[in-house]
Symmetry: C2
Subunit: 391 residues, 2 copies
């Protein structure tokens, strides 16, 4: 009698926001970067992808992915690379132990959901590929470490490799052509510096700009100053950032974060034709952070921007009242504030010009902080009979 | 009987807009730059400063300057440096010929007017210092060449040194500590490539940003990529730009112009804290130029931005209908169009998103083109009795 059992594994995976940015590929197919990077993993209470992977001899047809309730095309080279690598590792396990079911030969059914609106314009691909890789690895009961799995997630989306860990995570660029040394590792657990918070200001963007994948290729090809970034600026920022995290030195963490974001967006502006991810609302957020720090007389907030206009503002819990109170004064009308934000008291009032640009241009806030890595869960998006769970 | 004669000289001087940008001082007092630069001198029919310099033994008190009808403070180090240098050269002339009147010992009265609104936010200091230096040099009947005088104007405002010439002008950075080799020279007369036109899109700016003088100091001090610009990017752009001008190769001229503007603003964005001169309107102008070039299937327009949001768009006369017609469609409601612009026919219609940003954000256009250098004139702003002419 054929084995009709449905094997399942479910995991959540986090979003990460880099403080030393990944921008530039030395190998586009393998997603090998031109420089190392460091990120903070954000709490999955606020931002996470939940993915259930399942497989069974009773499944027919091709592998499939249901993403946020809709069938998703997984024929692309990046997803295929991840699934191929995961299957190859399962085959190795099966070859070593012939008693194991031949899961590698069955079709995969994947169901995935984000707990945050896609409209927020947050790069969800990092959490998505990390969850996919982690869930299938769990399904296949692979012995690989998170760092090993980061090699696979990296091929789905570069920054996804950093979402295999919680806390403070480095992606080492590596030197090898086959990319096996281009992997994520842990700089520090979330518990080492649990006070790190992030306030995300979601900017309404009329239109998505240049995709990061094509944008970074254009930068590598045309920016006259890019080489300086990858050979001098980033190595120094990596060194300083690891020191700052080890010492929990927020002012140093903040300065490197802001400088590196500036440097990354400068190389975008130096691309030909130029790429602009920051708009006037983003710049108002920068001015607001500078103003808060000036009023505080020390650096208590740091802005950073990925390949889009949204501002991510890092701060420590002890300064929550000042940071949240200042922005709440201007942005109390928009959604996303957690309970208690209205009570946050700040002496800082943003300048009228900055405040009005933010008021008009920010559509949502997300309050979060440093968090844990992928977590196995009993919450399944696929029932025991292999059908998607209705939600 | 005392000599009561009022000696007068009057000159006009042009604005110039760099196509390889000056940004960064190696000596702030002497205005010695970190890199060479090249500009196009714009026609004085559209943008010029008219300055009359006068002096007389009958004048009493300190040197004075009446600028656009208002008394101007000339006690600043930069203006004083120019006047001191000019007097020193006159003294040399007087020492060599004792029969000459001792103009160097008399007070100077200067009256100056721009033919363009200060509100336009165009850097008028280049034309202003060039006119001041040229007018006083004429008053003093100095034998110095324009290149010699550029050394003096440079000390007033760096880019002013390029306004001593018409056409296509280079400012050679020089190497000497005393700056005597940091001077302007002619790359090509206006007559060599008279077809060069410029359309200036004046952007309404709520507030003046960081001044260029302090901005460039901050960039030198904090940008991690600035050194690459001055040591590699600019020298290459200088070489290519001189080739392009010699060959009247517009596509090459245009690409270097746009790349160098991008590179300059990238170093501003890489400054800490970052400096942003371009706003969302400026970026819409960039997209418009890219769109026009894409539609034309070749490069017929080039954007460049100084330390502010205004776009300067260079093009050749043969493409005037396309360039003017395209922008006129969107901006017909604002002032500054020359006669005939309404008749300029273009097949290019800007995308709605770009057009609406331009329509809301551009307050004025200025249509001009390459032009001549400072020109002696019989139009005096000071009467023969030494009093300002009522206008």
């Amino acid at each position: 009698m054929a084995d009709t059992k449905v094997y399942r594994a479910s995991t959540t995976a986090p979003v990460n926001i880099a403080v030393v940015k990944y921008w530039g590929k030395r190998d586009a197919k393998l997603n090998l970067p031109t420089n190392s990077s460091i990120s903070v993993t954000l709490s999955q209470d606020d931002l996470r992808t939940l993915t259930t992977a399942s497989t069974s001899a009773s499944f027919s047809g091709d592998d499939s992915l249901l993403l946020n309730g809709e069938a998703s095309d997984i024929s692309g080279a990046r997803t295929q690379a991840c699934l191929r690598e995961l299957r190859a590792r399962r085959q190795a396990v099966e070859a070593a132990n012939p008693d194991l079911p031949k899961l590698s030969t069955y079709p995969l059914k994947l169901v995935s959901e984000n707990n945050f609106p896609t409209a927020a314009g947050l790069a969800s691909s990092a959490a998505g590929f990390a969850a996919l890789v982690r869930a299938v690895a769990d399904l296949y009961e692979l012995p690989e470490t998170p760092s090993d799995l980061s090699l696979i997630a990296r091929q789905g989306s570069g920054s996804a490799c950093r979402s295999l860990f919680g806390g403070y995570v480095a992606w080492r660029q590596g030197e090898r052509l086959d990319g096996v040394d281009s992997r994520a590792d842990l700089v520090a657990e979330a518990a080492h510096w649990p006070e790190m918070r992030a306030l995300i200001l979601v900017v309404s963007a009329a239109k998505k700009g240049v995709s990061s994948s094509s944008g970074m290729q254009q930068t590598v090809a045309t920016s006259g100053m890019f080489k300086e970034r990858i050979t001098k600026v980033v190595p120094e920022n990596m060194r300083l950032m690891e020191q700052a995290i080890a010492a929990k030195d927020f002012p140093k963490f903040a300065e490197v974060t802001m400088r590196d974001s500036n440097s990354f967006h400068a190389t975008c502006a130096d691309t030909y034709p130029p790429i602009f991810y920051l708009n006037d609302v983003s710049k108002a957020a920068i001015r607001a952070v500078e103003y808060i720090n000036a009023k505080a007389g020390k650096t208590i907030a740091a802005y950073t921007f990925d390949a889009g206009p949204n501002a991510v503002i890092y701060y420590e819990e002890k300064d929550a009242a000042t940071i949240l109170g200042t922005f709440y004064q201007t942005l109390s009308h928009i959604q996303g504030w957690k309970e208690g934000s209205a009570d946050a008291k700040s002496d800082v009032s943003l300048e009228e010009g900055v405040a009005s640009v933010l008021k008009d241009g920010i559509t949502r806030v997300i309050q979060t902080g440093v968090g844990e890595g992928p977590t196995k869960t009993d919450e399944f998006l696929i029932a025991e009979d292999g059908s998607p769970v209705k939600r």
